[in-house]
Symmetry: C2
């Protein structure tokens, strides 16, 4: 951390366990300002992932980590999702929450439908990620401005949002498994987009 | 389950909570025989994932789930990995543990090095998955018989195994993140192999 410009303090034994949120914390802890992000980030170059109502913090954190690693433009967090700054999300993101803009629909005053409309106005094709339905992910043209919409783990994408979609994308699977979880699906889609975009 | 040929029993309230290993179990539970798998599975068509010393059951279960969904040939579990039938692995695999052969090196009497030798004798190129080093994953020829070697989450691949590798593969990342976790890396590699193999 020397050279990063951060103030470094050494803690007495037992302090870390008291201020952290895990039972066996990592040996270092940083205090960071929450990034100041707004809708402008949705116009950035690259894929936007829309996490409509992702409820599990581990899933959201992993999704953020993948999106950041793959160089996606931004994540749009829909109403009903777990908070992006929930400690479990921050931890699962392995710091990536500070590397990619996460736009919160509620902070922008948007319903899910209004958020989808905003993405459409930015010229993005809005593709619902669905199991067993839609264009195979390797055949989607990610060279176009694109937003992939990921639904809730249990309930998928609701009808109102569905009406705003321009199409669907599916991850074609070889095995008999019903589906991948939302974080795995996001990982595959982000890296396929990165592959196509070189 | 009707039609599956399974015997179905209805349990009295509270029984599931006692026999299951989670606090809030799913409403159904199945008893299944452990699949009978041996080294012959490593000759199957498709990618072999070598989980050398994957310690976290959630990571191993997710890796199994991805490999099965992507139609990989088999998983080879190295000495020092968590047991494939650990309840947390089975749960994280979402049933995929019954859909793809998991070969246990220890059951075959193999050290990690002997396991790598066996894969070489089957004509598989053995590629270590490493961060920041090796052929970009989209440029690896997965049309060739291939085994991807995934190391321990903290310590990577040890020197003895390293000496048996034919090369390295890396997932090229856009962001400043240090690395993906082993399950995410496995997901990306399995689906890139599936994409190339059509």
């Amino acid at each position: 951390m020397a050279g990063s410009g951060a103030d470094v303090a050494e803690l007495k034994e037992g302090v870390l366990e008291k201020v952290g949120t895990t039972r066996t914390p990592q040996p270092v802890l940083a205090v960071a300002a929450r990034p100041d992000v707004d809708r402008a980030a949705l116009a950035r170059d690259g894929l936007v992932l829309v996490a409509l109502a992702v409820a599990d913090p581990g899933n959201l954190g992993t999704l953020v980590r993948s999106a950041e690693a793959a160089g996606a433009a931004a994540i749009l967090l829909g109403p009903g999702s777990v908070d992006a700054y929930n400690p479990k999300v921050v931890r699962a993101s392995a710091g990536a929450i500070f590397g990619i803009p996460v736009v919160d629909a509620e902070s922008e005053g948007w319903t899910a439908v209004e958020a989808l409309d905003a993405l459409g106005e930015l010229g993005r094709q809005r593709l619902g990620a669905t199991a067993g339905r839609g264009t195979p992910h390797t055949e989607v043209d990610f060279g176009r401005r694109t937003a992939v919409v990921l639904g809730n783990e249990a309930h998928g994408i609701d009808a109102a949002v569905e009406s705003r979609l321009d199409g669907h994308v599916q991850i074609v699977m070889a095995g008999p498994a019903e589906s991948l979880n939302v974080a795995m699906a996001a990982t595959i889609l982000c890296f396929e987009s990165a592959r196509q975009r070189g």
